[in-house]
């Protein structure tokens, strides 16, 4: 397994070097290795396809323009994520500065029906049949989406990277260019705020 990993790392180094030398095919291969994860993070963060597309384009164009600065001091993945997260944060900050521009695409119309006790709702949720279960899932999702809008951009990106990208706190810290301790604080605050918004803080 270790041999496989190290071969992959060597391959990646060669690809990055070729891309740095102006090899477009090598660059596109690097894009294809990671762009699914990048788009997924962008969609989860921005909640709108148009914004996620902008993040995708801007991030990879930045990578393309700045690739010659990459010195292999960290993995390419970490470096890429640093750029992607910065682009996401910029977009979110800009969006927060425009209050009229904050409605997520996924908002549903049944907010009033969401139970105040999140766990009670979850228990019902598991006990019910599929169509209703789906609807309840949508309701909770809608409420969670609203709650996410109230997090600071940094808290939000940490929460997304932890829960949806499955990254370790150390890796998130590397990507955001900050310490693991700072990331821990952001995750703690994000979790508290979300649970409080969902009416479950004890």
């Amino acid at each position: 397994m270790a041999a496989v990993t190290s071969t992959a790392a060597v391959d990646e180094r060669v690809l990055v070097e070729q891309a740095q030398a102006g090899n477009r095919a090598a660059f596109e291969e690097l894009v294809r290795r990671y762009d699914r994860d990048v788009l997924r993070l962008a969609l989860n963060m921005m909640k709108r396809t148009e914004d996620a597309r902008d993040v995708y384009q801007e991030a990879f164009l930045k990578v393309y323009r700045n690739l010659h600065r990459f010195r292999f001091e960290c993995s390419f993945y970490t470096w890429l994520y640093r750029i992607v997260t910065n682009v996401c944060l910029d977009h979110l900050r800009r969006r927060q500065a425009r209050p009229e521009d904050q409605a997520p695409e996924l908002r549903t119309t049944q907010h009033d029906e969401v139970a105040t006790d999140f766990f009670e709702r979850q228990r019902e949720h598991r006990a019910t049949l599929d169509p209703e279960r789906h609807l309840l899932g949508q309701e909770i999702k809608a409420k969670l989406a609203l709650a996410m809008e109230r997090l600071s951009p940094r808290e939000r990106i940490v929460f997304e990277m932890k829960h949806y990208q499955g990254l370790k706190l150390r890796a998130i810290g590397d990507a955001l260019g900050t310490s693991e301790e700072t990331v821990k604080n952001s995750l703690f605050r994000a979790t508290r705020k979300l649970r409080s918004e969902l009416g479950v803080l004890r």
């Binding site: 597309r53 393309y64 766990f119």
Partner: protein, 369 residues
């Protein structure tokens, strides 16, 4: 604080529970939490809530899945990025085709432009609908609705289809076998799903690779990904050779060459590799051609030993050899060496020159063994 709390207090432990629930506590913190939980009912209940919150989050549908369930957005992002990179590499100069006046006129008369476009759209829409209806009536082609064991797709159906997405998933009945799911749209959208052995799946994949100009480069790359394990199949190899020679996107040509690695010793594949080395405009593709040519000679040596060990003189370049897919002889080997010798001096890319020189050293070292 709970009355029964031992050495550590709820105040110390409670903030750790979020991290304990998501597996982010270090060993010392984990020990502290577990010791405390054994005796503190209140913190234990809080941990249960944390775990339930985690599991609820996991059970909710993910936004990215809802916004782009079939991966179509990814394909769009890829082609937009490719266009932007093209623009960066070859900035567009003057308006081509003398349409600058039209753009300027449209800028000055936005209302008239919009009205003209709407009218044009209506007329074109009506004409196209008529044309499609007419074709369906004339050919009697039913809306394509294909299942894994469905009727074989005709050339006509293939020539009309568009591919919106290609996904892979392990088969439910046999996890070792991958299922390919293709989102197609012909007369109407249809999803085609099956293993790589399914003749329709294979036909669509090879058709896309072979007729690259009709499809998005992201889709072409996905199809190549699916086909890369089948390069020894004649139909697939033919499509890969076509893509390696003619696809306009260097990433596609590169991937097609990579997929041909297993049959690099085949005479036709080697010809394609030589053509790529000598004529491909992209240095990355040329480097891959060098790598595969060296590999093909290695593969040829192996074939020699297996085919006729008694007659092996140790100098493959002087022997006539039959590879896995066709005849490889002295001339073919000499052609490779000649091309590499030429490229080590002539290629505009320094990296390709260096790689060609290194390849010649590798081949000569192998011959001396």
């Amino acid at each position: 604080m709970s009355a029964s709390a031992p050495n550590n207090s709820c105040k110390d432990v409670a903030p750790l529970l979020v991290f304990y629930a998501c597996g982010e506590c270090n060993e010392q913190e984990r020990g502290l939490v577990e010791q405390h939980l054994a005796l503190c009912a209140s913190c234990k209940a809080q941990l249960e809530d944390e775990l339930e919150f985690e599991s609820a989050l996991r059970s909710l549908p993910e936004t990215s899945q809802q916004l782009d369930p079939s991966g179509i957005l990814l394909g769009r992002c890829r082609s937009e990025l490719a266009e932007q990179l093209d623009d960066l590499e070859h900035p567009r100069g003057k308006e081509v085709g003398g349409l600058g006046w039209l753009r300027r006129w449209m800028g000055l008369h936005p209302m008239w432009s919009a009205a003209t476009l709407v009218l044009f759209g209506l007329v074109a829409g009506a004409q196209i609908t008529q044309w499609f209806t007419g074709r369906n009536d004339a050919n009697g082609v039913d809306a394509m609705s294909v299942r894994p064991s469905g009727p074989r797709l005709t050339e006509d159906q293939l020539s009309k289809m568009a591919v919106a997405g290609v996904n892979f998933a392990p088969s439910t009945s046999n996890p070792g076998v991958k299922t390919v799911r293709l989102q197609l749209s012909a007369e109407q959208p249809v999803e085609l799903s099956g293993s790589l052995d399914d003749s329709n799946v294979r036909s669509v994949l090879t058709y896309v690779v072979k007729n690259g100009q009709r499809f998005d480069s992201g889709v072409r790359l996905d199809c190549l990904d699916a086909l890369k394990t089948l390069a020894e199949d004649d139909q697939v190899r033919e499509a890969l050779l076509e893509a390696a020679r003619k696809d306009e996107n260097p990433a596609v040509r590169l991937k097609a060459l990579e997929a041909l690695r297993v049959s690099a010793a085949d005479a036709e594949v080697r010809e394609t590799l030589l053509a790529a080395l000598e004529h491909d405009s992209n240095p990355g593709v040329r480097v891959e051609a060098v790598n595969l040519l060296v590999h093909s000679i290695g593969a040829q040596d192996d074939t020699l030993v297996v085919t006729d060990p008694g007659d092996f003189s140790g100098l493959p370049s002087r022997k006539a050899v039959r590879g896995s897919g066709g005849a490889l002889d002295d001339d073919s080997m000499q052609n490779v060496i000649r091309a590499l010798e030429e490229m080590q001096h002539k290629d505009p890319s320094r990296y390709v020159r260096m790689r060609s020189a290194a390849a010649l050293r590798e081949i000569s070292a192998r011959n001396e063994q």
